[in-house]
Amino acid sequence: MGALNVLYALLAVVVGVLGALALYWILNKLVEMLPAKQEEAVKPFAFLLPALAVITVFLVYPAIMTIINSLRSDDSTEWVGAKNFVRIFTNAPFLSALVNNLLWIIIVPATVVALGLLVAVLADRLSPTKEKVAKSVIFMPMAISMVGASTIWKFIYAYKPAGTDQIGLLNAIVVGFGGQPQTWLQYQTLKFNTLLLMIVYIWTQVGYSMVLLSAAIKGVPEETVEAGRIDGASEVAIFFRIIVPQAWPTVITVFITVLIGVMKVFDIVYVMTNGNYDTDVIGNAFFNALYSEADAGKASAIVLVLMVAILPIMVYQVRQFRAQEANR
């Protein structure tokens, strides 16, 4: 079975790559048969066609279908108008998931940027070797899947009854200071368990933030920092008034990237609590609407809420891109 799967995959690579090459070769030959003038006009589309087809079929068309399905019944056969939206927005657990998502949005991107900036600035002052080692350590969780990271942290939050040895680091520390062990992932006071889930996400993303911000800080021109020093600015003032403003575009980039990731967060919540104990988020609510409830209408409506929330970011991205192109 296993060997067969590998063979299947290898075959797919060979067929996929050769097939794509053959396709382009044939398209190219066909286009070359046209008169020279038409050839120039048609050729770009021969190069573009496969990519555009893939994007249209596997991304744009399904996205449009999702919009349509959000107005249809649970098996997408009848039109139900705005009923799915009425249902989700009058559903207390979903509203709570929205609030949780909002908390993720408020807390996580800002924390990731702040911590990334902190590590970048501190590491910048170490010797090159130490800086390299420190950055590699902080960056390493980037390679770990959210499922892997969730396992790591679920173990840290593990609970054993009071009086027995604790195996989770967090409870061991709490007990070490004379406290009572807690079932942390069920600890809902002040949404503490949601906060614990956020820590997992932050842990995986600070490395990304640090690498980009570190590059930005190193790109700040020497003269501007020197000028600040000559004017007698303190180190803190130099940091906030001279370095941070010049690294600001990168700060925004990191913030937005993390923000998008946080809005659609799924893996961590699914694996650690599956949305129980008031930790649900949009991404997980979508998955459960689709699988536990087998309700395509509701799932589509939920995902549309996510899409609408992301729309302003999309507009911003496009604007940014145009500004960049204008400067190219």
Binding site: A9, A12, G16, P44, F45, I144, F155, F266, Q317
Partner: protein, 300 residues
């Protein structure tokens, strides 16, 4: 990861290294301790996971992994062999499935994207700007938007539960990013080279194949690594299209293990470490390319 300042190892902070002067000031013990503290915060969770995975029997469920240091010779590989070969979805099988998913899902989109990126960079055609702007917009579209209709479509095509569904889905989801990264890279290549090839009578196909592809290797590599790690670590798409049966990939198998209350922590930690192994190797050996891809505007 390498900083351009890497001159000589050692106490460069105290040596008059001109580039280092640029920062705020020099390292002192407060800063070194702070960085060390942060590094420990980042490392200890993974170290705890690894140590637990090599503790014998049900030690892991009896006392904390830190007690292992008192008796560091008490180790075993048994948890790994159990995680790899036992259970309904053994990690060994899941590893094979993950390879079968991730390799085609990485390689297939690259070439398609490279051709499109070439057209966007070096050719003129009506609607070019608007098409590229749509691609930029699609960069931030969450995958969830496409999942339900895609599974309906795959079902109609009789493909449900096949690896091909994940390859195609990942090709679609990764395509805007691939085109975007490659086009931005190609736009930075010297135009003169392409112009002279044109004067020499090279066709677009030849220019692409003989000039642009070799020159774009760094960008192709960085996208490949990015996409590979992304697909390998993905849970949602694999869960929706392949589910938890004998086509489980590692993330799905691991999520299944975690949901299974009977599993001891020694098996869970060994399983988790196995899922992390290949991405960590890929990542540590090819970090440079990965970072380049990231800085090239990976907003996925």
């Amino acid at each position: 990861m390498s900083t351009a300042t890497a001159t000589k190892p050692g106490k460069a902070a105290k040596a008059p290294a001109p580039i280092k002067e640029k920062g705020l000031g020099k390292a002192n013990w407060v800063i070194e301790t702070a960085v060390l503290f942060l590094c420990l915060m980042w490392l200890i969770p993974t170290i705890g996971l690894f140590i637990t995975s090599i503790r014998p029997g049900d030690d892991a469920d009896k006392n904390g992994w830190w007690t292992w240091f008192a008796n560091p010779l008490r180790i075993t590989m048994e948890n790994y062999s159990k995680a790899l070969f036992d259970g309904s979805t053994p990690m060994g099988m899941a590893f094979v499935n993950s390879v079968a998913v991730a390799v085609p899902a990485t390689i297939i989109p690259i070439m398609i994207a490279a051709f499109a990126a070439y057209a966007f960079t070096f050719m003129d055609f009506p609607g070019k700007d608007i098409m590229f702007i749509i691609i930029v917009g699609l960069l931030v579209v969450p995958n969830q938007v496409a999942l339900v209709p895609l599974s309906v479509m795959f079902m109609k095509l009789g493909l449900q539960g096949q690896f091909a569904t994940v390859w195609l889905a990942h090709a679609g989801f990764g395509m805007p990013l691939a085109v975007y990264i490659l086009r931005n890279y190609m736009a930075s290549l010297p135009r003169a080279v392409i112009e002279s090839a044109k004067i020499d009578g090279a066709s677009h196909f030849q220019t692409f194949w003989k000039l642009i592809v070799p020159m774009s290797v760094p960008a192709l590599a960085s996208f490949a690594i990015f996409q590979f790690l992304w697909v390998w670590n993905d849970l949602l798409v694999a869960l929706v299209f392949l589910g938890g049966g004998d086509k489980s990939v590692m993330t799905v198998a691991m999520a299944g293990l975690l949901g299974d209350r009977g599993q001891g922590w020694q098996i869970l930690t060994a399983g988790a470490f196995l899922t992390m192994l290949l991405p960590l190797i890929v990542f540590l050996s090819l970090q440079r390319f990965f970072i380049r891809g990231m800085t090239a505007g990976a907003v996925k």
